[in-house]
Amino acid sequence: MTIPLTPTSARQPQQRGRLQSMTGKTIKAAIGPLVLGLPLALWQICFFVLPLGFLGVVTFWQVRNYRLQPAFVLDNWERMLGSNAFQRAFVHTFSVAAIATVLALVLAWPAAQTIALRLSPRARDRWIAFLILPIFSSYILKVYAWQVILSPQGIINSLLTAAGVSSLNLLGGALSLQIGYMTLTLPAVTLILTFALLGLDRDIIDAARNLGCKGPTLITSVLIPAIRPGIIFAGSTAFLLAFGDYGSPVFLTGSNPPTLSILIVDTIKSGSQWPRASVIGVTMLALPAVGFLIVTMVKWLLKRTRA
């Protein structure tokens, strides 16, 4: 509903008329979004809510003779959550995904700021197109390409050897893993930050500059606070992509050590343990929800103490 800009006194007769037809209009106003939102809601129910529920139910089932059987046992939860392999994989996956998130944000920020605030509209569109392009090529293919580039007898090491430098152990390890994660996350994170900065009111920046704010201070005191939701979205996208990724840990570190998604595959490979794999899956899905809950609670507490 738009806010009438006319003075209150002039609006009054009109308002009374409006009140009379309010109910009819509200229903009409509500039907539009309902119809438009229905396909998405149905889709989400069919392909998110129901499968998620099923995934949760399966965690209580058991496997007998390689066959999944409905049951209600807590054994899968006890075994998985209590196993060293799961705990270590969880800590490892969480920390590498967190590092990837910070790396992606730090690496993407200068590019996003340049594209959004420095370039001419034409150049900006071109660079945004460049960022969208990688999304159209296969991620697994890119990971394999990195394997070829980084391997002991790969492109980089061949060049180093030719230059008389001893070869480096690039493949298999934190560096190669983060290279893979950046391949996966950087384009998306840069795009999100770019669009967030583009949506910023330029007057704010000009005003800040007029008041003598520049350089790093401009970033920390003006830009970051102004696009905080965008940063949180970019960060959570990077985190979730890295947290659930299978390609980079398998092909760039040789599962050394395994991440949670690798553990899911292992669990199914050894004895068709779908219920235990589901425990890992549900835990991975629950993590963002728990994180979201904590953030909301902290915010609420902060607001209360301030009040």
Binding site: F54, V58, N84, S236, I264, S270
Partner: protein, 374 residues
């Protein structure tokens, strides 16, 4: 937070995918043509219905071989358990899974007189893992050895004469592993002096576990079969225990500096066999297929298959190979008058790859997962 919904829908896709696969796992697999008379349904490792292997048989018998591929015995058992009886007419299985198939009553008893077992090397005529209560349930089709594969540019044969080399400083961070507990832990068990390697007392099991974990810092990675090839080729792994010539021979023919040795502590043998499954209506056709595969001609085809070179148990097969493809016989080390693949067997250093007999498989699997994440 305005962006959350989009964010959640991505997770939605992931979880939907996972649940859909779970659902697929519970539903029963049914082959499209299971009941057609001219179709032979074959549950097997990948590549075993390659036209190179089966087209002659298909032409002769006017039939079609429909393969359902599996990777690893666990998956084979899962497929069988989830399919109605009669879905498959025959199965190619690794020897260590035969007793599980037998215990679950999947296998038809075979008449030894139907098959050219007398053509086989004496060692394989009554291969213990294929016979139960003196009755035959599977006919051996091929075998191979698993030992220590290594980079020949970096190591001399005498350096890799013992599995101990895996613990050397030179090999630090360069020992690759096939991501399957059975052959990997089998070789570690051999290196700890356990023969046979899979029948371990509780103490022996603990000792093997300690020995395995002491290898953790030496590991370069845990590879799938596809990645085993690339890690050996690109130098990421300098040695890999528990694999064999079925991987290194192909690589070597492509020019990669790799070879496999059977260290002094011994090696493992994998063995594949064909069995007829209960509930089949095409018993005769299945029997003919086994006869074809174990005939000299069928054996030569098995040995020279492009993607996966195998050793064959049939002496008649060896003869035909030497007569018609002498070059291959030399490469495959299946010449009678030269050091050949039967020699290691005769030296008594070969142990069957078997499932752990005194601990649940799950315990071995758990230790393997633990080792990888340690």
């Amino acid at each position: 937070m305005p962006f959350r919904p989009t964010d959640l829908s991505r997770r939605g896709f992931l979880s939907a995918g996972a649940a859909a696969s779970a659902l697929a796992a519970t539903s029963q697999w049914s082959p499209a043509f299971a009941q057609e008379p001219e179709v032979l349904n074959y549950l097997s490792w990948p590549g075993n219905a390659d036209p190179y292997l089966v087209s002659e048989f298909e032409k002769e018998n006017n039939c079609k071989i429909m393969i359902k591929e599996y990777v690893g015995g666990d998956q084979m058992l899962a497929v069988l358990n989830q399919s109605p009886p009669g879905s498959f007419d025959m199965v190619m299985a690794d020897a260590e899974y035969m007793h599980l198939l037998k215990d679950a009553d999947y296998l038809e008893e075979l008449d030894p007189a139907d098959y050219p077992l007398n053509d086989f090397f004496p060692e394989f005529q009554k291969f213990p893992l294929h016979w139960f209560d003196d009755k035959l349930y599977g006919v051996m089709t091929d075998f191979g050895y698993l030992g220590l594969s290594y980079n020949t540019d970096l190591y001399q044969p005498e350096e890799v004469a013992s599995y101990d080399v895996m613990w050397s400083d030179k090999a630090k961070g360069k020992v690759g592993f096939l991501d399957w507990y059975l052959p990997s832990m089998g070789c570690v068990s051999l290196s700890a002096g356990n023969t046979p390697p899979f029948d371990l007392s509780e103490d022996g099991f603990e000792a093997m576990k300690d020995k395995l974990f002491s290898l953790r810092d030496q590991a370069s990675g845990f590879y799938t079969i596809a990645d085993i090839f690339s890690s050996l080729r690109n130098g990421q792994a300098h040695m890999i225990p528990g694999i064999g010539e079925w991987i290194t021979l192909g690589l070597r023919m492509d020019g990669a500096p790799v070879d496999t040795v059977l260290p002094e502590e011994g090696g493992l043998q994998w063995t594949e066999s064909l069995s007829i499954l209960k509930g089949t209506k095409k018993r005769d056709l299945a029997r003919k297929f086994i006869q074809y595969t174990t005939s000299p001609r069928g054996q030569v085809l098995q040995a020279t298959k492009v993607d996966n070179k195998k050793s064959i148990p049939s002496v008649a097969g060896w003869k035909l190979l030497n007569d018609t493809m002498p070059k291959e016989a030399e490469i495959l080390r299946m010449q009678f008058d030269q050091p050949n693949v039967m020699e290691e067997y005769k030296k008594g250093r070969i142990h069957y790859r078997q499932l752990p007999s005194l601990q649940p498989i799950e315990d071995w699997n758990d230790i393997w997962s633990d080792f990888k994440s340690a």
